[in-house]
């Protein structure tokens, strides 16, 4: 049994180690060390918790057993998950943090004595507010992440679900939660506590269903942020510094990522939350356009010929590459090009893929050196001096309409200037529009060659033709 003061100091240490864990991610070289800091911080926090309770009853065996069960499941998932499924995994993990927060809050509500929060029916006012906020945010995180998970996994359609009065209902429920917490503080009634939790679950669902597939990077970041605030809420309840520090770190991290994602799509955070993006596409209008405009299409041989005779190639990967699992074939193609002394770089748009940094991880998996991979602002000027842009699985992030047509829904969004390249190779299954539901003007340009095929198959064919 160690004193409360000593354990508080250890919790502070573990909080600092978590800060260092995030700090390590400022460069790939220091990132692994950062991860170890995080692991050490977690071990310290868990051991100190055991020591501070001191009184080891038979429960301890069960605690360790459940810890090992959970750990084994977690480890199994971590080793088996393909890198392309990372967005779903992260969404799934968020839901677990949310649910764990809800359960800890429930346990604290049912048995406040062990947490030093007063007695049943006489819980300290501040603690009651903190735990109900923690439970509410946790519940929203849980159900919201479940919906995000289902959408990312494709079990649920990615298109927004909208009904009239949706926002009013959300607003009413949100206010309802606060009113209920107010009454909870007055009455200490368990029924009201349960109602708060249930309504929060409902709010989580309602909050995420209207948000379309293209906005998923924002949704995941947002839920990341929520899971942090939920943890912080519980941290206040438990008067635990490690949890408060971590909650604040994760909360602000998620918020910053949401901000970066919104900025990369030139959309306000508010409009993403309100949802409905990509729902209002007028299909007839697009069909008409397609019939009128001529499209140049080619095959793998043409593409190989173009690239072989280029001196520099920029690769623009997108979500389609992830779906087709084409990253390894792509790497093979790049190796061949490099052997012919062709300079190859990768250009990544911040919202390419379904979560922040998604493309970078996939390229890393395929052993692409990270110093060949560039972010939008670092590479956008290079397109004009390059011979070939190879767009694989990306669409909206290359659409020049964002720069020219103020009426377009993506107007003002920063895009990759692929059209400035001498020629553009566009690997795509069909001419169908991307998530934004708009036609890509790039398809009809003179310097664009469309390669209609599955991204992986086309890349493999090009590799064969490069010999």
């Amino acid at each position: 049994m160690i004193s409360a003061n000593l354990s508080a100091i250890f919790y502070l240490v573990s909080g600092i180690l978590f800060i260092l864990a995030l700090r390590g991610l400022s460069s790939p070289d220091t990132s692994r060390q950062g991860n170890y800091f995080g692991i050490v911080g977690m071990i310290i926090a868990i051991i100190v918790t055991f020591l501070s309770i001191g009184n080891f009853s038979e429960s301890l065996i069960y605690v360790i057993m459940f810890l090992v069960i959970g750990g084994a499941i977690g480890a199994f998932i971590a080793f088996r998950i393909p890198m392309t499924a990372m967005p779903e995994l992260v969404a799934g993990f968020h839901s677990l943090v949310g649910l764990a927060a809800v359960f800890v809050a429930i346990a604290a509500f049912l048995n406040p004595e062990v947490f030093n929060l007063g007695a049943v029916g006489a819980i300290k006012l501040a603690s009651l507010i903190e735990m109900s906020i923690g439970a509410a945010v946790g519940a929203i995180t849980f159900s919201g992440s479940i919906i995000a998970f289902l959408k990312l996994r494709g079990i649920m359609s990615g298109s927004p679900i909208i009904f009239s009065g949706q926002h009013l209902l959300n607003l009413a429920l949100g206010i309802g939660i606060f009113v209920l917490i107010f009454y909870l503080c007055k009455t200490q009634s368990a029924n009201i506590f349960w109602t708060v939790v249930i309504i929060s679950f409902l709010v989580g669902v309602l909050l995420i269903i209207p948000i379309g597939g293209a906005d998923m990077p924002v949704v995941i970041s947002m839920l990341n942020s929520y899971s942090g605030w939920a943890a912080a809420g519980i941290g206040f309840t438990l008067e635990n510094t490690a949890l408060i520090i971590t909650g604040a770190l994760v909360g602000s991290s998620g918020a910053i990522l949401s901000y970066i994602m919104c900025k990369a799509m030139n959309r306000s955070f508010f409009s993403v939350i309100l949802g409905g993006f990509g729902a209002d596409n007028s299909a007839d209008d697009k069909k008409e356009k397609k019939d009128q405009k001529p499209v140049k299409s080619g095959n793998a041989e043409d593409a190989a010929f173009l690239m072989k005779n280029a001196s520099s190639v920029i690769i623009v990967p997108g979500y389609g590459m992830a779906v087709a699992q084409a990253q390894h074939a792509l790497r093979e193609m790049v190796d061949k090009l490099k052997k012919n002394d062709i300079k190859v770089t990768y250009a990544i748009h911040p919202v390419a893929g379904r979560m922040p940094g998604h493309m970078n991880v996939l390229l890393a998996e395929a052993n692409v050196p990270y110093d060949e991979v560039f972010e939008l602002e670092d590479i956008n000027n290079d397109f004009a001096n390059s011979d070939v842009a190879f767009v694989i699985g990306a669409n909206d992030v290359t659409n020049p309409v964002a720069k020219t047509d103020p009426k377009s829904p993506i107007f003002g969004m920063p895009v990759l200037d692929v059209e400035k390249c001498k020629s553009v190779l566009f690997v795509k299954r069909s001419l169908s529009p991307g998530y934004a539901g708009i036609d890509n003007e790039l398809f009809y340009r003179d310097n664009t060659l469309m390669l209609f095929a599955d991204a992986k198959k086309m890349t493999e064919d090009i590799v064969k033709n490069l010999d």
Binding site: R32, G34, V97, A100, N224, S252, G357, A364
Partner: protein, 103 residues
């Protein structure tokens, strides 16, 4: 007059938000996915609350209603801790391989 301990916790919380703000802005965009998985793992430090709740059951009644919630929360948080750190490690390892190859 004494300052309520809550104010101290609030100070820690707000200062941590600022630390988080500056630290996260310095994270390189190519590591944003590992950032999310690692934040996931560390937010599972909520397990400390779950452990306290789970150990609260008496020896005659290890599984009373509140400790059951604690036990479930332990499993959930443990999945996250192991899953989060290991998957982060797996991803970061890939960023290393390339570098070594280049050398």
């Amino acid at each position: 007059m004494e300052i309520d301990p809550f104010i101290f916790r609030l100070s820690i919380f707000i200062l941590s938000i600022f630390i988080g703000y500056y630290v996260v802005w310095s994270v390189t965009p190519s590591l944003h996915t590992p950032l999310m998985s690692v934040t996931n793992a560390i937010s599972s430090v909520i397990i400390v609350g779950a452990i306290i709740a789970a150990l609260a059951g008496s020896s005659e009644n290890i599984f009373d209603i509140s400790s059951i919630f604690g036990f479930i929360a332990i499993v959930l948080a443990a999945i996250n801790i192991f899953g989060g750190f290991l998957v982060t490690q797996r991803m970061l390892q890939m960023y290393k391989k390339k570098k070594d190859k280049k050398k």
